[in-house]
Symmetry: C2
Subunit: 240 residues, 2 copies
DNA sequence: CACTATTCTCGTACGCGGTACGAGATTAGG
DNA sequence: CCTAATCTCGTACCGCGTACGAGAATAGTG
């Protein structure tokens, strides 16, 4: 194993995963690298979706044998953690806190949204997995905590707020992506519209019928995001 | 096919899925039912997690051949949609709106949380998939829209709020479940704590070190949920 | 310079997943 | 009864993650 190995049963010990070993003094030299493999996996996910990230396809992208990947990550789950932390590196270094924590928080959310739009598999990956706090993720958390320093929140509450914001962004971006996908497939969009029209016409869903009858607002996703984010952040309190 | 079949390429036409066909007048009688299969899948997911829900295992639970399931759902993705709508049936009938839309919204969120705690696979299932609006889901949406009637929000904004609340609940419950799982495995919890201590000690993460150094609040998940929900709902505006 | 311990590479193989196919069973209408 | 329609399900295919272990490369040792 390139970076050591733990006996831990189920899941990977974060120390073994993120804290680099000093490189063994004997043995064959690695032909690849964790970074290269991770980057290939990210490129694959960006181009063809997260389902295209299979050990076989990643291996062929980097020119390795399939089983060679297991010298760099003990399993696929770990590779996904590496991917998440890898792209999180694009977030740093962010601007230093301005003292206006609400504005800083909004800037953080906007940066996260841009990242997730660039890597559409990220919202799902973040939601499903228990976080593995790699160096890039940690750097960003550190930044968020610094931005929240002017508040009266204690440590746990600050982390809560950060988690809440991240989840909020992930959800909105996931919706945004789904919406875009739907718009890209007129046949499916039409089927959905037909179904909703049928439901609205059945008489058992008056509220829904009314909501759908209203004219569609021609709002850009950016505006929607900014509006909801503002509401959310402005609603956050600084009390204990 | 028990309920008809569409030519739609990719994804299932909601009309074919949710609007029942009149039952064909010829041909062999179905030996199972969509409801029974769905219930079996839900029971399996509740007992052993969503990964235990495979076509083979569901089939053996209901006493059917594997391929017989495909007479009731065209693919596994659809079966998952059926599961989501199935458990959503436990939400209705909710209490009628009281006129205090904030209180109603909080009640809705609490009901959703209880449902998700009963079916821990639900948050993930909701996040990943594009919603398929089955009858039970629709009934609940209808109820939420009615609760929001006293607000000045237009139809689209009401749906937005509902989606936001649902996502919020899903995220908190997912965290809650992960936290419980971590607490149930002391070895993993200890490894995590060791790692965070090492990070805090490296000098590059002062904010994180401070946040972790603070004494842990002994709050119940229920209290945390209620507190964050209150903040969120109270922060929502009724303006356009 | 062998010799050896160590580490990485990767072909093969196993079990399990979703599901296409098609033959046989069952039903209702003519 | 015959025929067309519908449902049942055994078999089979391909792709997945990954265990295993043989072989290749490296660095220290005599």
């Amino acid at each position: 194993m390139v970076s050591g190995d733990g006996p831990g049963a189920g899941g990977v010990d974060p120390q073994q995963l993120w804290l680099s070993s000093p490189r063994p003094r004997k043995g064959r030299k690695p032909a690849f690298s964790r970074a290269a493999i991770t980057a290939a996996a990210v490129a694959l996910a960006d181009a063809e979706g997260i389902d295209a990230v299979t050990m076989r396809r990643v291996a062929s992208q980097v020119g390795a044998g399939v089983m060679s990947l297991y010298s760099y990550a003990p399993d696929k789950e770990t590779l996904l953690h590496l991917m998440v932390d890898h792209v999180s590196g694009e977030l740093s270094p962010p601007a230093p806190p301005t003292g206006d924590w609400r504005a800083d928080l909004k800037a953080i959310a906007h940066a996260q949204r841009a990242l997730m739009l660039r890597h559409p598999w990220l919202p799902t990956a973040l939601f499903n997995r228990r976080w593995s706090l790699g160096p890039n993720t940690l750097a960003f958390v550190e930044h968020a905590l610094a931005a929240l320093r002017p508040t009266a929140l204690d440590g746990a509450a600050k982390l809560e707020v950060f988690s809440l914001i991240t989840g909020f962004v992930a959800r909105l971006v996931a919706d945004e992506i789904a919406q875009a996908a739907l718009a890209g497939s007129p046949e499916r969009a039409a089927a959905e519209a037909r179904y909703l029209a049928a439901v609205a016409a059945d008489g058992h869903h008056p509220e829904l019928a009314e909501a759908l009858a209203a004219p569609v607002r021609p709002l850009t996703p950016d505006a929607t995001f900014a509006r909801l984010l503002d509401r959310m952040v402005d609603g956050l309190d600084t009390g204990p």
